[in-house]
């Protein structure tokens, strides 16, 4: 394996609390919630009636208007966030070898906005000819990665990672591996999701995975709080530009952070339940730290998976204690999902962006709605208020349905 160093030089975010990295970051530090009653469909008969929906996204701000109907909502988010990240990195692909630029995108579902709408047409008309001919290219889960490549002419490896809630994190890890292995020189990597839809929501409600705090949506996502009662669905995209340290230097761009380690494991036990003692979640953190050559005592900050489900937050806390022992109490933790909910395939990528900004700016965003401490979740989750802290090493955890676990290790760039 070559030892090419991989850095992050561009960030793009589409979220329910802000479009673009600066709006997103300011909202995070203010502790703003993006969770509201669902506007996209009538959810009054659902056990969960709220989500982190994005209300101010205008696709035509990023995509030629005639092309907008040719992209599902998740692909629109992805192309918009990719444009932001590429602009932020000051990358001019006309000066790059496009065959050496890859794309790696995580997504949990795919273009289910189109899928649900077309199924409805089929069942309402009972006529298969009424299903729109664009359905396949809009629904397929690799559409977002393909649309990014088409939009920017990127001809390197183009991969879609679908590992539920860890998809975005795995996509970043995979993008780093492509660069480390010499298969690409830069990669546009991240995740996207847009599945606040009646069918998807019904399925998650039936699984009893979502919070039912309908009387107070903005207080429903409360990771690590004793009264947490399930996760809150969100939507959005997070895309970054990864490149070699050498190319960033040549271009005169100062990286946000360096990605130094990536761990990927399967729990291989249960399709949705995490292993209870935290040994499996600990395993992926351990692998990532080994890959990074970083000792546990060097870690200052962990952006947790922190979903606000009873079991996830407990198991993650146990796993962190297994790896870090007493030192776990000195690490700053937070949960981005407390504000934007769980953006499924985008979450690991958006949280990777949070790590990069935290390393660059030395501020830990708060975990909002943390009001009553849980005796079993007793670490420092940065409740209420953002906090200044010089962060040298950060971890980002993502644990997906299917037992697909991912952990990224990043270092401050100096």
């Amino acid at each position: 394996m070559t030892s090419r160093r991989v850095v992050i030089t561009g960030l793009g975010v589409v979220s329910s609390i802000g479009l673009g990295k600066e709006a997103f970051w300011s909202a995070l530090l203010e502790g703003k919630s993006g969770i509201r009653r669902i506007q996209g469909f009538d959810a009054s008969s659902y056990s969960c009636q709220f989500a982190g929906e994005i209300s101010d996204f205008r696709p035509e701000d990023y995509i030629p208007p005639a092309d907008v109907p040719k992209l599902s909502r998740n692909s629109q988010f992805a192309v918009a966030a990719a444009k932001m990240a590429i602009d932020d990195a000051h990358l001019d692909f006309s000066k790059e070898n496009r065959c050496r630029v890859g794309v790696a995108i995580g997504i949990g579902l795919g273009g289910w906005d189109i899928y649900e709408a077309q199924l409805r047409r089929l069942f309402e008309t009972n006529n298969p000819r009424r299903v729109h001919p664009w359905s396949v290219p809009l629904i397929m889960s690799n559409a977002a990665a393909a649309e990014i490549a088409i939009s920017f002419g990127l001809k390197g490896p183009n991969m879609t990672v679908s590992t539920a809630c860890s998809s975005g994190s795995h996509a970043i890890g995979y993008g780093c591996d492509l660069i480390r292995m010499g298969k690409a020189d830069s990669v546009v990597a991240g995740g996207t999701e847009a599945c606040i839809l009646p069918g998807v929501f019904a399925a998650f409600c039936s699984l009893r995975a979502l919070s039912t705090r309908n009387e107070a949506p903005d207080r429903a996502s409360r990771p690590f709080d004793k009264r947490r009662d399930g996760f809150v669905m969100g939507e959005g995209a997070g895309i970054i530009v990864l490149e070699t340290l050498e190319s960033a230097k040549e271009r005169g761009v100062i990286p946000y952070a360096e990605v130094v380690g990536y761990g990927a494991t399967s729990e291989a036990t249960h399709i949705v339940h995490p292993e209870g003692t935290g040994s499996e979640a600990a395993h992926v953190m351990d692998l990532a730290l080994q890959d990074a050559g970083v000792s546990p005592a060097e870690v200052d900050y962990i952006n947790t998976h922190g979903t606000s489900t009873v079991l996830n937050d407990l198991v993650e806390t146990r796993a962190i204690k297994r790896i870090f022992g007493e030192y776990a109490y000195r690490i700053s933790l937070d949960s981005t999902k407390s504000m934007i909910g769980h953006t499924i395939g985008a979450s690991g990528a958006i949280e990777g962006i949070v790590c990069a900004l935290t390393l660059q700016r030395g501020v830990i965003h708060p975990t909002i709605n943390y009001e009553e401490s849980d005796p079993e979740c007793d670490l420092d989750y940065t409740p209420y208020q953002a906090r200044q802290r010089d962060v040298k090493v950060a971890l980002s955890n993502s644990f997906g349905f299917g037992g697909n676990n991912s952990c990224l290790v990043m270092k401050a760039f100096s």
């Binding site: 005639a66 000819r129 009424r130 001919p133 664009w134």
Partner: protein, 82 residues
């Protein structure tokens, strides 16, 4: 009853929208592929919308359009027959 003028208007407006152009930029003698650069997905979308709007079926074997006028004539005939 669908009038011939209505068919013409709907087709020109539909093409203009799909191609991000003004209706005045779509000439009846324009060739769909060579002049208007309609791709296969655009063509399928056009057929899909015409079938729905005029309640007609446009089987693959009958689709031999070169110009905008060919589409207009075909749909006018079909709509009349239906």
């Amino acid at each position: 009853m669908v009038s011939a003028a209505m068919v013409e208007e709907r087709i020109i407006i539909g093409l203009a929208k799909a191609l991000n152009k003004q209706p005045s930029q779509i000439q009846k003698e324009s060739r769909l592929i060579e002049d208007l650069m309609l791709d296969s997905l655009d063509t399928l979308d056009l057929i899909f919308k015409l079938e729905e709007e005029f309640n007609i079926e446009m089987p693959e074997s009958e689709l031999h359009f070169v110009t905008v006028q060919d589409v207009i004539s075909y749909v006018q005939e079909k709509a009349k027959a239906e």
